[in-house]
Symmetry: D2
Amino acid sequence: MADLEFRSDNCGRAAPELIQALVSANEGSALGYGGDALTQQLHTRMSELFEHPVQIFPVPTGTGANALALAAVGSPFGAVYCSPEAHINTSECNATSFFGSGLKVTPVPGVDGKIDPLALEAAVSTAGKGQAHKNQPEAINLVQATDMGAVYSVSEVTALSQVARAHGLTVHMDGARFANAVATLGCSPAELTWKAGVDILSFGVTKNGGLLTDAIVVFNPDIAKKMGFHLRRAGMIWSKMRFASAQVLAYVQDDLWLRLARQSNAAATTIAVALETMKGVKLLAPVQANEIFIEMHAAAIDQLAEQGVLFYRRGPTRARLVCRWDTTQDEIAQLIAIVRACSQAR
Amino acid sequence: MADLEFRSDNCGRAAPELIQALVSANEGSALGYGGDALTQQLHTRMSELFEHPVQIFPVPTGTGANALALAAVGSPFGAVYCSPEAHINTSECNATSFFGSGLKVTPVPGVDGKIDPLALEAAVSTAGKGQAHKNQPEAINLVQATDMGAVYSVSEVTALSQVARAHGLTVHMDGARFANAVATLGCSPAELTWKAGVDILSFGVTKNGGLLTDAIVVFNPDIAKKMGFHLRRAGMIWSKMRFASAQVLAYVQDDLWLRLARQSNAAATTIAVALETMKGVKLLAPVQANEIFIEMHAAAIDQLAEQGVLFYRRGPTRARLVCRWDTTQDEIAQLIAIVRACSQAR
Amino acid sequence: MADLEFRSDNCGRAAPELIQALVSANEGSALGYGGDALTQQLHTRMSELFEHPVQIFPVPTGTGANALALAAVGSPFGAVYCSPEAHINTSECNATSFFGSGLKVTPVPGVDGKIDPLALEAAVSTAGKGQAHKNQPEAINLVQATDMGAVYSVSEVTALSQVARAHGLTVHMDGARFANAVATLGCSPAELTWKAGVDILSFGVTKNGGLLTDAIVVFNPDIAKKMGFHLRRAGMIWSKMRFASAQVLAYVQDDLWLRLARQSNAAATTIAVALETMKGVKLLAPVQANEIFIEMHAAAIDQLAEQGVLFYRRGPTRARLVCRWDTTQDEIAQLIAIVRACSQAR
Amino acid sequence: MADLEFRSDNCGRAAPELIQALVSANEGSALGYGGDALTQQLHTRMSELFEHPVQIFPVPTGTGANALALAAVGSPFGAVYCSPEAHINTSECNATSFFGSGLKVTPVPGVDGKIDPLALEAAVSTAGKGQAHKNQPEAINLVQATDMGAVYSVSEVTALSQVARAHGLTVHMDGARFANAVATLGCSPAELTWKAGVDILSFGVTKNGGLLTDAIVVFNPDIAKKMGFHLRRAGMIWSKMRFASAQVLAYVQDDLWLRLARQSNAAATTIAVALETMKGVKLLAPVQANEIFIEMHAAAIDQLAEQGVLFYRRGPTRARLVCRWDTTQDEIAQLIAIVRACSQAR
């Protein structure tokens, strides 16, 4: 019985194009800390991609991208509103407060890992703006695709941005799976970000074929002013930046990022379509990216693990299954067969 | 007139062996965050190299390595003693205080970028241990090779560790150029670290042929206990850790790290030998690694820049020249010729 | 129409005994920062009061007491569990994260401003202990009396402490209205604290007849070790400490603190008894200390304010009324009459 | 042999006028957190005193005042320049970095506890403004009177402010002994502060007859904007603020603060005049306020302690003697006699 890898998209390989980009970048000398030609090229390339003058900062991890982005827009007295399932709330070991000098993460209810706009309005409007006893609403954090595997539509992002804007809050998008969301929606990167009110984006690379870099994309130039200092004191600016920039350049070259995302999305969709017909298997949220959250009897989940499927549990009766850009048709078929068998178990 | 690159060792290429290691690591799936086989192998390999059971944490940058190491051994009320020229004091934009929740960097005099043991003893013994008004001595930071291009001998490290130990302080070595120091001294890595009293080491890779990773090596297991949390909240633990571990494994394979360091050391030595005979050029510190600090007339320094030598000034009459593992004989010869010409200028 | 003061117990006067204590303390010279005789006497006196060797640290405010207490027991990676209404969660402008270097405040459901023990058990046992992605459960915070005006019984405190203890968490009691709770329960201070599992207490003085000081009482000596440094770096240790210690000594002299609390408790009870018979007025929680939370039509609440009652709204249909130790029978009678009149309004 | 108290001005009594002010303030109810009439009155009164619209924030301690003031004007990437002897550098247990989210305290040479303007210019102009590797110059801290007992003249403050201003730095004055300095110089409070370029002042009360409060005075209104949040999250805003404001009002009423300062200054001058004629006693700095720093043989210093003089040593051969507003002629005479006797000892 072979292990079937559905633990995380970060268990996957790097796309060979990105490795090749490292090989190509390794020619001659280059100024450090982003002074190199590839990094300059990256600013131009990303501005084209987003149809807007952006600043881009490659950083080692998605947690780093999120925490730096929020620190750049928040204060020690501030609060960032997010969904309860948001990565910054559940999985970053207080990084937002760390980088943000005390900045608080405040969950707001919603479904499918999204923030509900009415709940956001209620939370912000009763937060006690201007009262020194109260932390001050400063930003919202939208995870795209969400931590439940759903995708915010452009109009959903716009609606939340409007609430944020009305109260003077900055809009941060945690795009750890931004490529998956863009691939699903078929919209342009611009439509899903600054045109919809997003000020700053954590641009995920690692989970979708990257190896050691993600990036921050800043649409609002005021926010970028102190970013260099934030990066430096956080030890998040590589001296040999060219090797990070080369990866991101390769990632967006010829739509590679979208092709990779379509592969993992398609894998997840195939699985979801099969699973939703099975008695005893419940999908917990719409499968709109590359993650599938299911509910089964605890015994069925146990059996899934015993059958060699690698995945993470979310409580006794829940499991998360994640597809990689390099998940194979064979893995998909095996998974479906095993889930089917387990779902019929008692 | 071609540019002659002597700005920094981080302007150099990666060693091809490390790039190749990335290619090789890109096979199959692997558990994230250090749960992969290469990272496990790295612990074993580094324990062999250091002749001691160590824990190793690859991190993106040397600043990250230093700040995390010091945060792991210091407290918000603490002070870390270092040389005035130490990287943590001059070039990390308050990172030690950031990671250390207020931990203060306190310079202690010395020569050639070293801490003087008597000055350390004086500083620590009058620091007001136990008095709440005073920040509390908690650690020392030794930069190896120093930020003036010199190297601490094993006995110098031992002497400083003894002062530290006598006062209950932890010993951190910032080994951004650890390979250069070991290559110069001809000692074993063990002799220069835990056998000489070092508790935790920033193990430099980037400046000596790495690309996107450095590492923390922990000799004292108590220190390592909370390191996982420190890394995580700092966004400094890669999900695809295998690609970092692969680099470090290749770096120490077959003494590659020492071979590379010997190359840059030899380049610097050649240059230093030539320069010290020139009238009008003064070496500011012994050239024992790959960095050369010189003093010349301001006009001579100006001319050096005009002649196409790329380097960093340290004030109007001072310059730093750094050799890379891939600095060529031709570059060396050209530099010597240009310095000679400039030194004779008025 | 005269103003009727029901905004807060901190709007009240200081007890004359505490002012007199300041006069008496102003004799001769005294060593600073707690080295004086009165502060020494305070340690002894509080150890007697609590039937346990305690350490006591007078501090300027309740927020200071809470934040310092939690910083002393928590870490940058930690989480403190509290009720959603807890002062540290709603009214201290991120102080816990500030003093605790990132320490997170995590609300757990319950009623009447209390933590529900089952909800606590559920939250802590699924928090991911030992997983670096997750902040780590480190402490619980019990507000006594609660921020809804109720009081935890001794057995309720014990039950929560047992859950905490089973998971290795420290128990902090925010006793801003500790005197009111002890007065209501008729138990000893010891029974409500260390005998019930409390490790550290914010001992409220200000709201109950103090003027410029509250205090931290530490039952577990390990916690106290670094408190001096915490206080100092927070600017929370007075040089002329004798004037703070004198207040606390006077406060507990001859049960003054309990007599004052009984007065404000009795005032609240009288009001509550009257209000609960009124149609159109709903008590939102049991009135067990000196605070009353009511629900009325929005128009009725508006009218209350128009009639000269000073109080804080908690949303359009809710109000908080707080009694002081020096609230008069006349104020009580007037308030009841006005609420009655407003409650019949349309 | 009676103890002779020369340890600190914070060992002295409170001025009876301030105690009386507390008695008087204890009438009726008052809104908390500075919403009371006395605090409003204080803003007006201090604006008159400083001939400028100021905002004043009473805070519990001088360390709190300094740290909050610097946090209000500095950033996590910043550096505050001060003299090596400055209280923020030597005696506040990393408070500046704590409140300032990493803000670094950087000593600049000078004499008599002052910053030298040329050294300041040199430090700031080579600090690497705009370079992300370097912490950024943001403020200077002038201690008035200095921590060596000297006083900055108005022109000295002006000269340093001009250097600061030329580089965009904010000027903070640590006026723990501001009254002593004004009393010595005979200038107006305005001349020594905003007219000389000071933006924000720690206005000392405690050491000069206060009991539990000092204050922050803000001349530049931009700085004050977020002060309420800083105070609140630091637990430094009293609910019963009227009792702090009452002290400060009494302190400046009818020049009380200057009369008290003249008393301690006169005591120190008398002592200094006597000591400077003694062989074997060296004054380490001009005695321009209420502190005297002397150098004697170690044996003589030992004997001083044995003779019952209470004071703090600053190394084996150095001592600090501090006069209080209530230091008596008899204490002065006794001290002079004992020092004379000790100075002749071998």
